[in-house]
Symmetry: C3
Subunit: 140 residues, 3 copies
């Protein structure tokens, strides 16, 4: 069995934004030499997500509005008790649960085994600082 590990560092300038990381994942799959296996991609921070969806700016705007409805940004300690710790990112911990921590993608014949529109995104909900994404590829 082969295994390949890579930690990416991302720095998103906005509080909330989505970054297409598919090219970096494809590059690491190629480097891994794995032809048949699984590729895990996960956020290493708990106010961020990795998810698969469409690379369409209108949809990303929709997601942002929708997540803001589901879990509004509110630095006060009333809405989110988490903010009583001195943090202001209670909302980000909720948005991350909706969008998910990780994706697992099949590797087939040396490539990500994707449908026509699948793209991998890093979802940032408490940006403006360095954060890490983990790639782990195992197989043969």
């Amino acid at each position: 069995m082969k295994s390949h590990t890579r930690h990416l560092t991302l720095h998103v300038r906005e509080r909330m934004d989505f970054v297409n990381i598919t090219p970096q994942v494809e590059e690491e799959v190629a480097k891994s030499g794995v032809r048949e296996g699984l590729c895990l991609v996960n956020a290493m921070h708990i106010t961020a997500s990795v998810f698969i969806n469409d690379d369409e700016p209108g949809l990303h705007e929709d997601y942002k509005r929708w997540l803001e409805w589901l879990a509004p940004y509110d630095p006060s300690p009333e809405r989110y008790h988490h903010n009583r710790t001195g943090e202001d990112n209670g909302d980000a911990h909720h948005k991350r649960q909706v969008m998910g921590r990780e994706v697992v993608v099949a590797v087939t014949k040396g490539k990500l085994d994707f449908g026509p529109w699948e793209q991998i995104f890093y979802g940032e909900f408490d940006g403006r600082r360095d954060k890490r994404v983990l790639l782990k590829i195992i197989g043969e």
Copy 2:
């Protein structure tokens, strides 16, 4: 290490519906010859989900009403900017995020290592056309 790949094609007649695909997954696990390993099942389309829950029609009705509350179908370009691309399925991209893209199931002694009520469903949110589900089983 053994690996086994299968792409299923599904065609759901309704816009939104859930299909129990557990028998097909069990069949592929048996074919794979894997006794100990992991089984990934994922939607290959970004307006569909694969998830594990109960095979109970009342619950499925509940999920449909709830998802419609969380992300109502609305073909207009006002609610979902995604629909400005000419699509009418902005809602489906949101519903899929709530229900998830994929499940990873343990294979133990040659079978899906399931609790008493776990069943695997394909969740369709923009149906009436062919869509694919990927099964990847790795292990020994």
Copy 3:
């Protein structure tokens, strides 16, 4: 390829609560002898979750209030048709979808490859009885 399987039993006294199971998962990773691989942790019940987030009591209170807004507990058969089966846990099946069934964590150099705040939680939404969590570790 090595594989290691463990079924944990949990009994949560409240209807809804979160239990940090990171120490148990770390122990099983050590027992597995796997240095490089993947670790799956999933709820075996469909009214429970396994998820990764912060071990901060204020945040857990926030999650409980938020999940109650998203899918309120209501034993009547009106809100949840699922409760027409004699169950009273329709809400729990919804809360579990928001928080997720499983996590997949990379194992690197014999340890969970975690960011600074990542902790694994069992999320119970229909407690007061024994439930199981599955750990499956594969790799080399």
